[in-house]
Amino acid sequence: MFSYILRRVVISIPVLIGISLVVFFLIKLQPGDPLVGMISPETTPEQKQEMLRQAGYLDPLWLQYLRWASRAVFGDFGYSLQSGAPVLTLIDERIVNTLLLAGSSLLITLLIALPAGIFLGLRRGSLPDIMASLFSFVAISIPVFFIAILLVKIFAINLRWFPVSGVSTLGTHDHGAAYLYDVARHLFLPAVTLAIGNIAIFSRYLRSDISHLINQNFIKALFAKGLKRRAVIYPHLLKNASKPLITVIGMEIPALLSATLLTEIIFNWPGIGRLSFDAIQSRDYPLLMGIVLFLAVITLVINVVADILYAVVDPRVRLTP
């Protein structure tokens, strides 16, 4: 097991280096030079050239990359042009909100998709199955932001059940339970917006998995042995269906993060999606690049963790090279 984990971590190192190269390439692609807006307009071009040289901006690319990468490894992602604060500090302030949104939407997704997937998988071709199929098609065909607008229109504007945007009500100084309730009310619409498409995707996966498993010989043998339906489904069927689910969740994480960024922009949710959108408006490139690098590394880590978890559940994986 240990050697599998080690191998999995080692093969992700080239990917990590690749990610850093992509982000470095983007940094080099950004318009302007790092001194824009930092020096007085009276500076002569010669003086400016000298300053750029001293800052290492005119060094060979590989040297610039090594310098940048060795700083990034120790968490120095540079400074935001807008606020002057270290990029990592700004990300650190917002990441909790992003994880809260993505996490609670994943929770809603699983709470609905798991029972639905099992139910439909055991009743393939029934009326509920056909209805659910149609719902899934519609759910994956609606743009995330259109779901958001519809939900805001119905539940926030017309019914006034939930607030339109933000993370908590301005001007209130609630603590404890009252504050949590306020945040939960703000969280509900964006989390549901994100969950709708994923419920369709997850329940479809589980459904096809279950309906495939139920026809397998080992399940038939259990039935033939005279076991009750419940005794077959819960311990045997679900245990086997849970394995691919880990892969699916791991695979869905980048898509979930991606949709979270978009949802944050629409609901003015103060996470890193909103942060990167604001960074674009103020042309704050160092902040933008820091966020992209951060998200890619997070995704890589999640992928590695998902693979390791999979190997824990399914020992066969550990042995394949």
Binding site: V15, I19, L29, F137, M251, L261, V292
Partner: protein, 297 residues
């Protein structure tokens, strides 16, 4: 019996009649043709130009003249919806063409050459797949600027990985088959084998995935245009028309500005997804990779 020998007649019968018999495919096809026809026939369906401003009717509700009302500077929403359809459909098709070219060529190289080329291509797909789409897309859009061409470029560059993996997996499983070995033994070159024998036999999953990629591209274009980083005003697209709905006042009182483009996107994507479902039922590709791999929005 003679008819059996005509290859194209046979192929048509084998593929098209079951397709048209499939309910998903048929409904999807009709929807798709209807929406495409609306976009193509725009000049004959509306008297208004998408750019003309009617200063006497600003944010006017729908009436006999302006079928779907007007927007905040008095442009006809119905006309913009039709012309916007042209832009959205073209951008999506171009983006998918772009990603197909990259994905198929790299997939072929990886799957047929194997070895170092394979490792290299696979690592590159691993790297790109680590970036959440919108994170990289909005960064690229911020650097390159918002325009239709850049949207095509961004979707193409970020979404080819699924196609490449699919083509590679197909080629890896086909390249050792008897007919390929026979062709190789006869001295047929690598490029001919790939295009003549391998790709043709991998067409089923490829077509299904490219179809779904069009749906995905329409959603991506709409999202980027919605947040102002895609197709730029005054050029209309379904996504940038919805940007009007960023104001609560519009959401609350001016439904004609956001319901029509939103519903059109849903219908279009639904149509393409239905066609994809129909194709995958009839062509029945072996699931080399989960279809979801390319379906990330």
């Amino acid at each position: 019996m003679m008819q059996e020998l005509k290859p194209f007649g046979r192929a048509r019968r084998i593929i098209f009649s079951p397709l048209l018999a499939d309910r998903y495919f048929l409904v999807g096809l009709i929807l798709l043709l209807a929406l495409t026809a609306l976009a193509l026939l725009a000049p004959w369906l509306t008297a208004h130009s998408p750019d003309d401003m009617d200063l006497y009717a600003i944010e006017a509700p729908p009436d006999a003249d302006h079928l779907l009302g007007t927007d905040e500077i008095g442009r006809d929403v119905f006309s913009r919806l039709l012309y916007g359809g042209r832009v959205s459909i073209l951008v999506a098709l171009a983006a998918v063409f772009f990603q197909a070219v990259i994905g198929v060529s790299l997939g072929c190289i990886a799957g047929y050459k194997r070895g170092l080329a394979d490792t290299l291509v696979m690592r590159v797909t691993d790297i790109i797949m680590c970036f959440p789409f919108y994170a990289l897309a909005i960064t690229l859009a911020a650097i390159l600027g918002a325009s239709s061409w850049n949207v095509i470029l961004i979707i193409g560059v970020l979404h080819w990985t699924g196609i490449a993996r699919l083509v590679r997996a197909e080629l890896l499983s086909l390249r050792e088959s008897g007919y390929v070995q026979a062709a190789r033994a006869m001295g047929v070159g690598g490029i001919t084998i790939v295009f003549r024998h391998l790709l043709r036999n991998a067409y089923a999953p490829l077509i299904v995935n490219l179809t779904l990629a069009v749906a995905n591209a329409i959603l991506s274009e709409a999202a980027l245009s919605f947040i102002g980083l895609g197709v730029k005003q005054p050029q209309p697209s379904w996504g940038n028309m919805l940007a009007a709905a960023q104001s609560i006042r519009v959401i609350d009182y001016e439904w004609w500005l956001w319901i029509p483009p939103g519903l059109t996107i849903v219908l279009m994507v639904l149509a393409i997804n239905f066609i994809g479902e129909g194709l995958s039922r009839v062509l029945n590709p072996r699931p080399a990779i989960p279809v979801k791999d390319i379906y990330t929005h």
